[in-house]
């Protein structure tokens, strides 16, 4: 990574007595795509919310996140956030139908961003908005400007979300499970659209995903999370071809591809935040757990081209 855009160090989020993110560190280069993967409750969306300054009031955030020339996003005052969000940081939400305002037309939601962030005039914003809708593959874009979100299909709503997110050419785009509410062939279209658009604009993208196969196809780097801790992180090729953390390996073995004949999932499910072990949070389900795994937390260390937090990692495949 030559040109680092985002560098997260020791990101920890407390909600009451619960540590919902525990010492998360990763970095991302300019123009790179990164996948945050893990099961529900792993903290994927919390990371995105923390880096967008969208965590609700009661959450306590520690750590730093250096973004471009800003030394730390996490200590910015609200006003500074408002200048970054929408302009340099943008987000595509999981459920476009819920994220778009049902009372305003597509055109009005799109031009609002352009006029507010880029101080464009009415006509200029409209022209730009139509061009944006065309670039995300909405046919008949001028007519779609006056459509309300409910008049669009799920795939088209998600295209509008992509257009709004990319309206101000952000440096970093968060896509929180952008396709999980969509049909299979539409999913493929949207993933392709996000990748093409970010590449074209030179933006970096953080995908929140639960599909490891999709992560391997679409992302340069991957961060595997479990119950708020980073288990393994690195280039997705390295990590997914030869996972060294028992959790990554188990997660990969649960992915069903066509022709999969046997599945061997770990027993149990992700623990609640109230009864987490003191050491590695995966220890209670880990087939390779040692006594010390339950008491001492493993640190992220550089092993075989990736970062790994494990006392008893798997051998090379």
């Amino acid at each position: 990574m030559t040109d680092v855009l985002l560098s997260v160090e020791g990101l920890t989020v407390h909600r009451g007595a619960r540590r919902i993110l525990d010492d998360v560190s990763f970095s991302l280069g300019r123009g790179e795509t990164l996948a945050l993967v893990g099961e529900s409750g792993a903290g994927k969306s919390t990371i995105a919310a923390a880096l967008m300054g969208l965590l609700a009031g009661q959450a306590r955030v520690e750590g730093t996140a250096a973004f471009d020339e800003a030394p730390d996003l996490l200590s910015l005052p609200e006003k500074a956030w408002n200048r970054l969000r929408g302009r340099r940081l943008a987000m595509i939400f999981q459920d476009a139908g819920a994220a778009l305002n049902p009372c305003y037309t597509v055109g009005s939601q799109l031009t609002t961003v352009l006029r507010r962030q880029l101080s464009l005039g009415r006509a200029e914003a409209r022209a730009r908005a139509i061009a944006l809708l065309e670039s995300v593959g909405l046919n008949d874009a001028a007519a779609r400007m006056s459509a309300y979100p409910h008049q669009l299909s799920g795939g088209m709503q998600q295209r509008v979300m992509v257009a709004i997110a990319l309206a101000c050419d952000p440096d970093l785009l968060f896509a929180d499970e952008p396709t999980s509410a969509l049909d299979v062939t539409i999913q493929a279209q949207i993933v392709r659209l996000i990748l093409d658009q970010t590449k074209q604009k030179g933006a970096s993208c953080i995908f929140v995903l639960h599909d490891l196969a999709l992560a391997s196809q679409s992302c340069d780097r991957i961060v595997v999370l479990y119950a708020g801790q980073v288990m393994e992180a690195g280039p997705s090729e390295t990590v997914l071809r030869d996972p060294r953390h028992p959790y990554t390996r188990l997660l990969k073995s649960c992915v069903i591809e066509i022709g999969t004949s046997e599945l061997d999932p770990p027993p149990g499910s992700v623990p609640g935040y109230d009864d987490l072990p003191a050491g590695c949070r995966f220890a209670s389900r880990c087939p390779r757990a040692l006594p010390r795994c339950r008491t001492d937390k493993p640190r992220l260390e550089e092993v075989a081209g990736r970062s790994l937090a494990c006392w008893n990692p798997e051998e090379a495949a």
Binding site: T185, V191, L195, L263, S269
Partner: protein
């Protein structure tokens, strides 16, 4: 779908013959008009499900999966064609009493929504046992415990309420409830979607084990081809109210004949494979069907005559292959010539 290897063809458990279901709906956009238009949810559906089979029904939203399910369960009467259970019309069998409902059990897509939040898990599982008079009242607690064990839940879950269970546990309870009536057929609508991969894998293994142990006939609705190939021997792929391809799951997925089946296959994420060119466009509205083949507007192999008439689901590759596709220009070349014209159009 019958197995050719078994020689003489026993009567299939379910048989759908040219089933058509048209819903009358108000024309969209007309607020005051009461004029109704027909929405064809199912059109010319032919499907045989033999006893002990496992069939995946795959398709995107609007393809008619749920309507097909309602027809199979006898909840919707087809507008045209016949839907048979053991050779007799399903609605007739259903009207005779509880036996059909006991034999054919359903696992709903929204498992949590299908469970009364004010009943304990024990009471929820005892409900079908009482309704179908499966066992005497005194045996109920033991029966509930056995059913919980069968789906891999600890006995103490019986005293809890659905809100205290995780998503995966709730699905297990829904499966236990379906199994309570000792059914021979299990119909599951997206029973593993929206779960974490490890939970999904656990449930798939459970369903596979149950199907084998109890010799259940399994009809599994899913949008995930991987799930279909893991759980089901046979597959039926639907598009806009029609079955466009059927056959043994592995054969269909390894060499799809219908261009839509191939597009679905390619859209499924695969480790380290380059992302393929996605299928353009979206499913058209069933109120505004394209002329000819319904897939013609999105098909990359479309020919002029695809717009003229709708291809029927015809067999190809001989009886041993047990495959059928509804396409004038299928992808798999077969010795028996592919169909040229639809006699049913």
């Amino acid at each position: 779908m019958t197995r050719p290897a078994e020689g003489h063809d026993p009567q299939p458990l379910f048989e759908l013959i040219e089933v058509e279901k048209v819903y009358m709906v108000r024309r969209p956009g007309s607020v005051f008009s009461t004029a109704k238009v027909g929405l064809p949810a199912l059109d010319g559906v032919r499907l045989k499900i033999r006893k002990g089979a496992s069939v995946a029904i795959v398709g995107e939203s609007g393809s008619g999966k749920s309507t097909l399910l309602r027809v199979l369960l006898g909840l919707t009467r087809p507008t045209e064609g016949r839907a048979l259970y053991q050779g007799r019309p399903i609605d007739e069998v259903r009207a005779e009493g509880r036996e059909f409902a006991r034999q054919v059990a359903m696992v709903y897509q929204d498992a949590r929504g299908s469970l009364n939040p004010r009943m304990t898990i024990g009471a929820l599982i005892a409900e079908p046992l009482r309704h179908f008079a499966i066992c005497p009242e005194t045996d109920l607690p033991a029966r509930v415990k056995a059913l919980l064990a069968r789906v891999g839940l600890p006995a103490e879950v019986a005293d809890r309420y659905p809100s205290a269970l995780s998503g995966g546990q709730v699905r297990r309870v829904a499966i236990a409830r379906a199994l309570a009536s000792e059914p021979t057929v299990l119909v599951a609508d997206e029973a593993v979607s929206g779960l974490d991969v490890s939970t999904q894998a656990q449930l798939l293994n459970l369903l596979r084990r149950l199907q084998r142990e109890m010799a259940l006939t399994l009809v599994f609705i899913t949008h995930d081809l991987g799930v279909a190939s893991y759980l089901c021997e046979d597959i039926a792929i639907m598009y806009l109210g029609r079955i466009v391809e059927t056959g043994p799951t592995n054969a269909v997925l390894n060499a799809p004949a219908h261009p839509y089946a191939r597009a679905l296959r390619r859209a499924a994420p695969e480790f380290f494979a380059p992302i393929t060119e996605p299928l353009p466009g979206e499913i058209p509205s069933p109120l505004d069907l394209p002329p000819g083949c319904r897939f013609s507007g999105r098909c990359d192999r479309v020919q002029p005559d695809c717009h003229l008439s709708d291809p029927a689901l015809l067999r190809f590759g001989g009886p041993a292959a047990n495959r059928a596709a509804a396409c004038f220009y299928p992808l798999t070349e077969s010795p028996t010539a592919p169909q040229k014209r639809d006699i049913h159009a």
